[in-house]
Symmetry: C2
DNA sequence: CTATTTGCAAATGGTTTGCGTTAGC
DNA sequence: GCTAACGCAAACCATTTGCAAATAG
């Protein structure tokens, strides 16, 4: 499944213009598994696109989120982190350095959406965040 | 387990002054299961304490978080929500109205902290967020 | 009495928006 | 050519911080 192809198809289907900026933002995100912030994507892209604006990066990410091409990772704190990995997975968050990594490990990966309701809610998605410390930050 | 008593004990043990403001903020939060924001606590408290400042509410919540009397609920978006319920539980978040409720339902409640490491991380806490729609928001 | 905590106002920092211009389709 | 999308700068809004005055212990 080419992410690029999905991007192009979505643009076509949803009547979104496939602009240079949108493509660049999407490819940068899709090629980066570190759950970058809008700002860090912007910093890297501005080398290639000097006139790119941070507002466009935000607008692009927001649009792609709306179209289901991108997800937001629940931040422990502060700036939103984005993720182009749409496979069900969990997030490891390091409390010390803020690093976020994907995992998919039982039993966390085995949770199924409840069929009925829970507490009156119809559950559509399950977010699992494993908070702790990464190897580098083990000793504070 | 009186929350009030825990608060007083923590203040004594950790040499935190038991001020009128801190007690008021804590009691307001502890008596409110809706995971209020700092701002909403502030709005309700200012009726009783006209000189109370929002900064104090934030500082108090931050201090109580540091002392383990309070937790922050991962917001879907926007302002931090606080929670004085320290029992392990999960959160139901309504995507339509933003409401957050506690639940503790298997299998989500049955997740245990992994003994070893996962992806190189030492996991200290597991956050489970069930995203969906509450009964009131079922039809948009 | 002295160190903490408060209130206030100003600063911060991530994100959003208004608006005139540019460029997909 | 018509609009959606862009760039820019200003606006927003939750949260934090500096500092002088108030107060808990």
């Amino acid at each position: 499944v080419s992410l690029r192809a999905a991007f192009e198809r979505t643009c076509r289907e949803r009547r979104l213009r496939r602009t240079t900026q949108r493509l660049a933002v999407f490819e940068e995100l899709a090629s980066d598994p570190s759950h970058p912030t809008a700002e860090s994507l912007f910093d890297r892209l501005r080398a290639r696109f000097p006139t790119l604006s941070l507002a466009t990066v935000y607008r692009t990410l927001e649009a792609m989120k709306r179209e289901g091409l991108v997800r937001t990772v629940q931040p422990v704190h502060e700036p939103a982190r984005f993720d182009a990995n749409l496979d069900p997975h969990q997030h490891l968050v390091c409390r010390a350095c803020g690093r976020i990594e994907d995992v998919s490990e039982a039993p966390f990966s085995g949770l199924r959406l409840p069929a009925g309701r829970i507490g009156g809610f119809r559950v559509e998605e399950i977010g699992v965040t494993l908070l702790g410390r990464c190897g580098d930050c083990e000793g504070r």
